[in-house]
């Protein structure tokens, strides 16, 4: 009997155990999934929660409800992975041996990594919205905030859902406008990038949308520290941005157990072959979702598309055949832009987001890089698909690899 161990029952890990249980013979492979708790958080909902559009209880489900029969569950914290002994050591002293290992331990926000970010001001006038606790505290603050300087800030890349800070900014603009308070709020978007987004054409489109909404951008801002008492962000090259309300995306890092295992880079992400999804230097360790260092978005869509490729490669690999599938970095993200509208972007390692229609050329119903009501409804409807199709490993009505069909080629100016 062989053993497949999956670390993490988040989006990637849950999908994988569902897909593989039906593809691996039960008398040949035991599957075990390890996670520290039994709460699965629907992370896309955290974006809308601060604006009062979500109830926290609607974003949580039990992880165990999505683990299929025939998969063992271990609820414990991971100490480290001993790759030489092919064993996962748990903090409670137990050891879980494996023949094949999937690391899907994700990415976490780390406010402790920026000097001055934590303190009395944390969740009072400095907030994150990437945790349930932070999003709820921010919701309560926004409800009666009198106005002033709102600063939306990204510490460094990579981050989970790289469009979320922009979406938050668009939604904040709409939130205050709909309440007749927009004139009392000055919004600034502070980023370590040289523009609104990472890819030139999308950056130009999204930068234009910020300008149209009267939102200023402070680019190339590499934060040195937060001065909580004086309420300002200070950069490494001594620039200052004052705020009354700071909404920051703290540094994103992989799990500490990756660092303890000596398997991570400087941010605890695991160096991973971007096409096969095997950890670099191993033939029995795979990395899926946000835990890897592949140059793709840390997003559920990437976890989904890469999991499809992984399953085929994994089955070939364990039967001693060459791996014939290659992940292309496909990502597909809805971008909420406020007032019931949204955009959609679809891209991969080699092709940046382009305008067009998706998934059916000319028809859509979704518009690429262009605001529409359909995109907003697509984002809201996605939640049903997430719980009922995606996590359970059932087919989703979109292609795994990116297609150029329906996209208009455009040159960045």
């Amino acid at each position: 009997m062989k053993s497949l161990v999956v670390l993490g029952a988040g989006t990637a890990g849950t999908m994988v155990v569902n897909k593989l249980r039906s593809r691996l013979a039960r008398d040949e492979w035991r599957i075990t999934v390890v996670d520290q708790d039994d709460w699965h958080l629907y992370q896309p909902g955290l974006l809308l929660l601060p604006f009062g559009a979500e109830r926290p209880e609607d974003l949580l489900r039990h992880r165990s409800d999505f683990v299929p029969p025939g998969v063992g569950r271990v609820q414990a914290r991971i100490d480290r992975i001993d790759t030489a002994e092919r064993t996962v050591l748990l903090e409670d002293g137990r050891a879980v041996p494996y023949d094949q290992l999937v690391i899907a331990t994700g990415s976490q926000t780390r406010p402790d990594q920026t000097p001055g970010m934590l303190g009395d001001h944390w969740h009072r006038d400095v907030f994150d919205f990437y945790t349930l606790e932070g999003a709820m505290a921010l919701r309560d603050r926004l409800a009666d905030w009198p106005g002033g300087r709102l600063v939306v800030h990204i510490v460094d890349l990579p981050i989970k859902c790289p469009v979320a800070p922009l979406e938050f900014t668009f939604l904040a603009d709409a939130f205050f406008e709909e309440r007749g308070r927009r004139a009392d709020v000055d919004i600034t978007f502070v980023t370590p990038l040289d523009g609104a987004f990472t890819k030139p054409i999308a950056s130009a489109h999204l930068g234009g949308m910020l300008r149209d909404r009267g939102i200023s951008v402070e680019p190339d801002f590499y934060v040195d520290h937060v001065d909580g008492p004086a309420r300002k962000l200070v950069s490494v090259d001594d620039r200052e941005v004052a705020y009354d309300l700071l909404v920051t995306v703290p540094l994103n890092m992989g799990a500490d157990c990756i660092a303890r295992s000596g398997m991570g880079d400087e941010l605890n992400f695991v160096p991973t072959d971007k096409h096969t999804l095997l950890a670099v230097g191993y033939d029995d360790v795979w990395v899926l979702g946000d835990a890897s260092n592949i140059p793709a978005s840390k997003a559920g869509s990437v976890a989904h598309f890469s999991a499809e490729v992984f399953v085929e490669n994994f089955l070939e690999h364990i039967s001693g055949r060459p791996m014939t599938h290659a992940f292309d970095g496909h990502a597909n993200c809805f971008i909420e832009s406020g007032h019931g509208k949204g955009l959609l972007i679809d891209f991969n390692y080699d092709t940046e987001p382009l305008p067009g229609r998706y998934p059916v050329p000319l028809v859509g119903p979704f518009t690429l890089l262009e605001e529409s009501h359909a995109n907003h409804w697509g984002k809201l409807g996605f939640r049903w698909a997430y719980w009922h199709l995606l996590l359970k490993g059932r087919p989703m009505p979109v292609p795994t690899l990116m297609s150029m069909t329906g996209k208009k080629k455009e040159v960045a100016s």
Binding site: D156, L157, P158, I159, P162, P192, L193, D194, T198, K199, D220, Y222, D224, V236, D237, D265, E266, L267, P271, P295, A296, S297, G329, A331
Partner: protein
């Protein structure tokens, strides 16, 4: 991909002027590249560039500002002092490496 002449040498560059063939680089060329963006190279600059070059040979990715600090041991403040405003981009340019894709 375009071909251009820098310091009397023919090199291959992308649309933004980043070298596309790291093997065409040496420290002489680095001096010329640095001058193009208004930087006079010192030994301090060169130590940073050597780290970036060595790191690239193992990772095949241009090191980020954070990595240059964490792995190379050059504080971010020093990177900003030597390559002002946009150190990651400028270091990559002068080191003859691909523009860091900052992320996605």
């Amino acid at each position: 991909m375009t071909v251009t002449d820098i310091a009397g040498r023919t090199v291959h560059v992308d649309s933004e002027g980043f070298l596309t063939d790291p093997s065409e680089w040496d420290e002489e060329l680095a001096k010329a590249l640095a001058e193009q963006i208004g930087i006079t190279l010192t030994e301090e600059h060169l130590r940073m560039l050597r780290f970036l070059r060595a790191d690239f040979t193992t990772t095949h990715e241009t090191a980020t500002t954070r990595r240059v600090q964490a792995v190379g041991g050059f504080p971010v403040k020093q990177q900003f002092a030597l390559f002002p405003q946009k150190p990651a981009k400028k270091m990559a340019y002068v080191a003859g490496l691909p523009k860091p894709h900052g992320c996605v």
